[in-house]
Structure formats: C-alpha cells, structure tokens
C-alpha cells in the first residue's frame, strides 16, 4: 500500500503543485501573484506529461544503431514543448495587461481595482 503510494510520488508532486497553483490563482488579490499561480499550475501539467513519457531505464529517444535499445516516449516531450510556448505567451500577455492596468488604475490589487470599477459603474 505504502509502496504503491510512494511508487508514484512524481504524480503526488504534480497534484500538490497543481492545487497550489490553482489556490494561488483563486485566493491572491495581487495580479502578479495570480500570474505566478497560473504558471505553477501550468508547470504541474508539464511535469505530469513528462512523467507519462518516462520509461523505466529508458534513454533519450535517439537512433543509436542498437536494435533493442529502450527509450522514453518522445511524444509527451514534444507536446510539452508546444505547451511551454503557449504558457510563455500567456504569461507575457498577462504581464503586459498588468502593466496597462497599473498605469490606468494605479494599483494591481484586485480588491482595489474592483472598488474603482464599482465607482465607475455607479457614475
């Protein structure tokens, strides 16, 4: 039982990171911290995919000339390369928006922005 749980410790790390990231996104008021949370959340998914591709004792998937060489599954790595690019784009866009929000509102705290927005609404 214990062995079964510990044997998949990498997935436990994925779940812990995932929940940490999602919790930060939901609970923090600072927009930059929200982006940090989002990045942690996405990174946990990258780890999840890479764990899937790992074959015990396998090497890098490179043609070596040996016939029966055991290698890890390269496909999840390729997918995650794409997902990392998407993640970088998301973070860049988010940070750019935060810059604009800072210059328009003068703050990046969500509750203060919400207060300013309600003032704007009642105008």
């Amino acid at each position: 039982m214990i062995h079964g749980i510990l044997g998949i410790w990498n997935y436990w790390i994925v779940i812990i990171l995932m929940m940490t990231g999602l919790f930060i996104v939901i609970s923090r008021h600072n927009l930059v911290k929200k982006m940090v949370g989002l990045t942690i959340f996405q990174t946990s998914v990258f780890l999840f995919y890479i764990s899937l591709g790992k074959v015990q004792g396998g090497t890098a998937p490179i043609l070596t000339g040996y016939k029966d060489s055991l290698y890890s599954n390269p496909l999840p790595h390729v997918l995650i390369l794409t997902a990392i690019v998407v993640g970088v784009a998301t973070t860049a866009l988010g940070l750019a928006l935060i810059l604009r929000i800072k210059s328009e509102y003068g703050t990046i705290e969500e509750n203060e922005i919400a207060k300013l927005n309600t003032e704007e609404n009642s105008k």
Partner: protein, 500 residues
C-alpha cells in the same frame, strides 16, 4: 505555374494557414486601411474555402486531410465532415460580416497606433477558431484554443481607449481562459495515459474498449470543464459579460458570433463522438452537470438581462441564456436535440452579431456606452438601424417568420419528442420572460420621444450595411429555413448517427 487543382486539395489546411500567415502582414503594412484590406482578404478567402469545402463534403462525403502527409494516428489529421463544414461556413461568414463592420467601428473605438495591429490579432482569432473546429487531433485542438483565446484577449483589451475596465475584463478572460485550457490539457493527458493516442477518431475507438475506466472518466471530466469555461456555460461564465461589454463593438460582434460557438461545437463533438460508447457516464454528464447548468443559465441570464440598463451588458447576459438553450438541446442526447442546438448555434450567431452591430453603430456616434434610455426615439434619428434592430430583436424573441422562431420550433420539437415536460415548460416560460428585456429596447426605439443626444446622430451607410444584410438574413432564413435546417440535420447526423 501554380496548379489550381493542387490548391483545391489543400483547402482544409489553407483555410487555417492563410489567416495565420496573413496576420503578420496585416501588422507590418501599418496603414489601418491596408491592414483592414489584408484582414478582409483573409476572411473572404476563408469564406471561399469553407463554402467550397462545404459543397464538396455534402456531395462527396467527409474529407480527412493529413497534415504534411503524415498518416494518423501519428500525424495530425484535419477532419472536414458535415458538422465541421457547417461550423467553418458559419465562422467564416460571420468573420466576413464582422470584418466589414470592423473598419469604421475600430477607427473610432481604438487608439490610433494600434489600428493596424488589431487586424493581425483579428486574423489570428479567425484562423484559430477555424483550426479549432476542423482539427482531428486532441492536442492540436488545445493549441488552436489558445491561439484564438489569446488573440481575443488582446482584442478585448483594446477597448481600453473608451473604458479602462476593458483591461480588467481582458485580464479575467485571460486568467479564467488559461485555467480552462489547462484543464483541457490535463484531461487530454489523462486520456493519453490510458490510450496512447491523441487522434480523436482513434481515441474514440480506444475509449469504447475502456468503459468504466477511471482515468478516462477523470480525463473526460477535465476536458468538459475546460470547454465549459470556453463556451461560457453557466457557473463558468464569469468572464463573458464584462468581456463583451467593454470590448470594442466589432470585437464583441466577432466573439459572440464565433468564439463561444466554436467551443460549443467542440463540446458537442467530445460528448457525442468521443463518448458514444461510455453510455452511463455520458448520461451522468448530460443529466446532472449540463442540464442543471443550462437551466440555471437560462433563468440567470434572462433575469439579469431584464434588470440591466447597459445594453451591451444586457446583450451579454442574453447570450448566456441563449447558450443555455443551445446546451439544453445537447443534454437531450438525441439526434433531434443536437440538430436543434446546431440550428440555434447558427441563428444565435446571426442575431447577436446583428444586435451588437446595431448597438455598436449607435455607440460609435455617441462615443460612449449605450444605456436603454439612449435608445429613446431612435426611430426618428436612425430609421434604418432602428428597423434592422427591431427585426433582430423580434427574431431573438422567436416571433414567426424570423430565424429565432425556427430555433424555438426545432428545440421545442426535440424536447417534445423526448417527452421532458418540465424543460418544455421552462423554455416557453423563459421565452416570455425574454420579452422583459427585449420589449424595453423596442419601446424606447419606437414609442418614446427622442432625447437631446439621440437627435444629433444619424444613419451611416458605411456602418449599417452589414447590419442590414444580417437583418435580412434573419428574415430570409426565417421564411426559407431549409438551408440551415438541412445542414444542421447533416451536422447532427455526422456527430451522432455515424458514431452509433
């Protein structure tokens, strides 16, 4: 010499690649008018390719296009069947209308220096959505989901010239959208871990052998939640009202007509093509997740719209309730229900796009967000816009001879044959409730004396042409509904029957 026949064969790829390739050109030419021409050319090309694909598919059947000649399940496959060709025609047609409307509207509504850049994002959004509905690869679908949503976030944020709240709306859209997309990736990863494939057709076969597998259930749940965020289905709709309200009018037109609709289509395909054999679990999702969500969405959207004064926000909440009608059709789990959903996807795109165009035409001239009171006496100052708006509002209510009526009839017919009386009652009741928000617009337009502001504005042919065409479509397809109904029937058959 370029071989024309060879180009025809590659249309499934080109309709996605051309807008993506044109996007940097639209940014580089840096003259707003030229950039707009590039965008218009891109959207017209998409319309051409999607229409010719549509006719090709309806004549010769489904097209499987292998990207780069790599065969599935290893290569990426683009599937153009009756359902996805229905969607690409809808998206590119609405894309053309929105692009024509965009030039005048964006000229007034966004900063001068971003005017040519906006069309780059515009084309990216269009290409992303077209890719989203045609791709047959689960991970490729994620990439297109992100291309389209990142570019729509940028487009929404451009509304910040008039109202700084556009920035927070865009940020929330980005954050919630990114979490939704990541949920989708987790789901795909879980499915990949048990099936070892990403091709949707291949996944369908492999999943059907794995009924009751918990990884599959968890993966599907993650995917459905992720797509519900993108489609703005009730509890996950938070980003939608503010994004539509503060976005530039043309962007609201594009997003309402295409973005949520593409996500709804993908949801339908996951539910009915991918899951056709996991019966118990599909029923649980439909009956206990989507059905309550869409009923609450219909009530919540309608009631919030009744008490809303800002018209763009009113329309956004009305969109929420209309998305509820679309998902109710899906939850029936019958071919006629899916057909009703497809009819309403097309019809709601046309209605909401026209409404946002009409309201946009007014707000461009008044240079502010429009309240219900601002519509007072509009019939005197803007007769053409008023008549078109009224037609579309009546269509939204489901008055006979309009497309809204066709939607309601087929939805009610599907619910009726399913025998689900409470839902039938709810649909009829909420249709009457919708009068609450629609009537105050009509009343203000036609029966009130104009205020001071309304008298200063007048019709502008450059702006109202796409609106009038869409309003005419609302009537034409309301009387001669065969094209939409028939292609929606084929689409539902492609998604549902063949799978069984």
């Amino acid at each position: 010499m370029i071989d024309l026949i060879a180009i025809e064969n590659h249309l499934p790829a080109l309709q996605v690649v051309i807008p993506l390739l044109l996007a940097p050109f639209a940014i580089l030419v840096s003259l707003p008018f030229l950039s707009w021409l590039v965008a218009l050319f891109g959207s017209l090309f998409c319309l051409y390719s999607s229409v010719s694909l549509f006719f090709h598919v309806s004549e010769f059947g489904k097209i499987n296009y292998f990207m780069g000649g790599w065969l599935p399940p290893y290569g990426i496959e683009y599937v153009i069947d009756d359902a996805s060709s229905f969607m690409i025609v809808l998206i590119s047609l609405m894309g053309v209308f929105a692009t024509i409307f965009a030039y005048q509207s964006l000229k007034k509504e966004i900063n001068k220096k971003s005017q040519s850049k906006v069309y780059g994002m515009w084309l990216l959004a269009l290409g992303g959505l077209l890719g989203l509905v045609t791709t047959g690869d689960a991970f490729n679908l994620f990439v297109f989901l992100e291309i389209s949503s990142l570019s729509s976030v940028t487009l929404v944020a451009l509304g910040s010239k008039n109202d700084k709240r556009a920035l927070t709306a865009a940020f929330n859209y980005l954050l919630i959208g990114a979490v939704g997309a990541t949920f989708y990736v987790i789901g795909v990863g879980l499915l990949y871990s048990v099936t070892g494939t990403l091709n949707i057709a291949d996944l369908t076969i492999k999943i059907s052998e794995l009924t009751g597998n918990n990884s599959v259930k968890a993966g599907i749940s993650f995917i459905i939640i992720g797509l519900m965020v993108k489609a703005a289905i009730f509890p996950l709709h938070i980003w939608l009202p503010s994004a539509y309200t503060f976005a530039p009018s043309a962007v609201a037109v594009l997003l309402t007509a295409t973005a949520t609709k593409a996500a709804l289509y993908v949801l339908a395909r996951i539910l009915f093509t991918l899951l056709f054999n996991a019966d118990d679990f599909t029923v649980i999702i439909l009956q206990w997740v989507l059905l309550p969500a869409s009923i609450v969405a219909i009530f919540f959207g309608t009631i919030r719209a009744i008490f809303e004064k800002d018209i763009k926000k009113l329309l956004a909440f009305s969109s929420l309730s209309q998305i509820g009608y679309i998902t109710i059709g899906l939850t029936l789990g019958t071919a006629s229900g899916i057909m009703a959903s497809f009819i309403h996807i097309a019809n709601h795109s046309m209605m909401k796009a026209a409404l946002f165009m009409g309201i946009g035409a007014i707000s461009i001239q008044l240079n502010k967000s429009i309240n219900v009171d601002d519509l007072k006496g509009l019939s005197k100052s803007m007769p053409v816009t008023s008549i078109s708006l009224t037609v579309v509002i009546l269509s939204l209510l489901g008055i006979p001879l309009t497309i809204g009526f066709i939607s309601k009839v087929y939805l009610l017919k599907a619910v009726f044959s399913h025998g689900n009386w409470p839902i039938l009652f709810i649909i009829v009741l909420t249709s009457f409730l919708a009068l609450g928000y629609a009537w105050q617009m009509i009343e203000n337009i036609w029966m009130k004396q104009p205020g001071d502001t309304t008298l200063t504005i007048k019709d502008d042919p450059k702006i109202y042409i796409p609106l009038v065409v869409l309003a005419v479509f609302n009537i034409i397809f309301g009387i001669y509904a065969y094209p939409i109904v028939n292609s929606a029937f084929n689409a539902s058959a492609a998604i549902f029957w063949k799978a069984l």
